[in-house]
Point group: C2
Chain length 335, copies 2
């Protein structure tokens, strides 16, 4: 194994100042593009040349300490909770934020409660925190972040928290759209898959509530069915299916729906004749299942609009109008 | 939309010092657990109580500037390049690093060349950079990071770069294992899917080379077939299939393999009779395809061992022995 070299060789702004024959403060003014300080074009060119020659990269944290603000946008999200739908959206958001001069990082920590999470995020002193799962940004968590100087808090959430800029995203709607469709197709005993994986409850509970709301206004009943994202768990659920007496299932998302679809078929249970199956997210492979999977598509606001909103909040200018996330049924042959 | 409060309300270590009646330096010694400075238990308790009362969270970057080291472990990886296999591994790695007192963040930036990427990562002054895709840590990129003071560079890679601690991960093996299996089953005209998505070339090229190596030692030929991760692209490839005259395909990974499997079947091409299909990653749904998908499973080293290695490099102690990533064939009915 190769040896990692000692960090003592690292280049600092003092090295750049020495080579350019200017003060360290001048290096900082030039590299951080501080407008408040006048630096001649010749000096600026000398500093930039010295920085280039030494391979000096400005230090985002030091810059943020000096400037009193950071350019870090923190997105708390475990890697495994990010589905295929959100991942390319996140990549695009990253590019859009970069266009504004921000660095977006994903913080994958898993914390027992919202405040512990907020403390961990606050340690990095981001300029902004964007919670994809709004319920993690409770009022107390928001307070921890504000006290640490985080100046923009944003969340995709169904209801707003004081001081948090909310992109309306109602997971209740996802469950409601799925249940309405199943009721319209004459199904009356609807199972709703509840993933056992940690961190998904914040999405699964409102989806369940949405289905329950629809059921309460119809003849249908809703039964919560726990399942984890594994073939064994799907097989177990499928084996217990006849005893549950359910004629439809909203399976949390397309990934769980696909697993369950196959497990039901392996048990000789026909889809959609005996059980109608609905997923969510409209992932690429869902239309290719046999039968093709009915799903609920989520239309997220564009990454450019979300990045513009973060930038506006940090600059204290007016944030653009962002349309709410829509839940749209994509009916196919599995239901 | 709720208004984001002004950052001027943020609590600093000066506030903690004032409330505890100690100097700011003492607050720093206590909260950063600096061993070099003696602080009485009574003072320590007073500082901790004041910090708790005010809801003060230490500033990781400020701490790192003072201590001359950061506790940030940066993992460059676009969200969409992280497959189902790697995402839960990453979540576990995050927990293991946290156990050692490090914060792991994913940096999703997409950069045209390795050096531009390294500059962006260096701005955050991480203690360590772990590249899942070893080819992004070129010698020049490593140099940029070292000059910025990053003290541990690690990569999953097939060959080592000077100054980078390498976890052996040979994507050539993945392609070779797939091709050996197809040749052993009597296939002679093997297609290898090359994803058009940016950032996947670093994995796809060595996989192709591995298949070509096996073919060169047998009667088989290998043909690279470009495809993007969409139903349209898979359908196009399937439509062109008869003209390609291929009797087998190694489809980069299980996600592409699943798309292509369905697209081939939609064209009336039977799997495995007319075309044998092999994926990689052994994702959960792969065994549930009709026919179940043959795949190449990658056995990554345990997150605990990788976290221990990062910690050892940062402490300057001996790194543990980490077994290389193995590529293991999981034969099923698609081939």
């Amino acid at each position: 194994m190769a040896q990692v070299p000692n960090a003592s060789a690292s280049i600092t702004s003092a090295d750049v100042a020495r080579l350019a024959g200017v003060s360290r403060a001048t290096v900082s003014f030039v590299l951080n593009n501080t407008q408040a300080h006048r630096v001649s074009e010749a000096t600026r060119a000398r500093v930039l040349a010295a920085a280039r020659q030494l391979g000096y990269v400005p230090h985002a944290a030091a810059r943020s300490l000096r400037a009193g603000r950071s350019n870090l946008v923190l997105i708390p999200a475990s890697a495994s909770a990010i589905g295929g739908l959100v991942s390319s959206w996140l990549d695009d958001l990253h590019s859009e934020l970069e266009r504004h001069g921000y660095i977006a990082v994903l913080h994958a920590g898993r914390y027992g409660d919202a405040t512990a999470g907020a403390r961990a995020w606050a340690e990095l002193r981001p300029a902004a925190v964007l919670a994809l799962d709004g319920d993690r940004l409770t009022a107390t968590a928001a307070d921890v972040l504000r006290r640490a100087g985080v100046s923009a808090l944003l969340a995709f959430a169904s209801h707003s928290v004081a001081g948090v800029h909310t992109f309306s995203f109602d997971h209740t709607e996802v469950g409601a759209v799925a249940a309405q469709h199943l009721v319209a197709r004459g199904r009356e005993r609807i199972g709703v898959i509840m993933p056992s994986e940690r961190g998904l409850d914040a999405f699964a509970q409102p989806r369940l509530a949405g289905a329950q709301g629809v059921a309460s206004r119809s003849r249908a009943t809703v039964t919560a069915v726990p399942m984890s994202y594994s073939r064994d768990s799907a097989a177990e659920v499928a084996q217990s299916w006849p005893g549950l007496g359910l004629d439809a299932v909203f399976a949390y998302n397309d990934e769980y729906a696909t697993l369950l679809l196959h497990a039901l078929q392996d048990q000789g249970i026909t889809v959609p004749d005996q059980v109608a199956v609905v997923g969510a997210d409209d992932l690429v492979p869902s239309a290719l299942q046999r039968p093709p999977l009915t799903t609920v598509r989520l239309d997220l606001p564009s990454p450019a609009l979300v990045a513009d909103t973060i930038d506006a909040l940090l600059r204290g200018t007016d944030a653009p109008e962002v349309p709410p996330t829509d839940a749209v049924l994509v009916p196919r042959q599995s239901s």
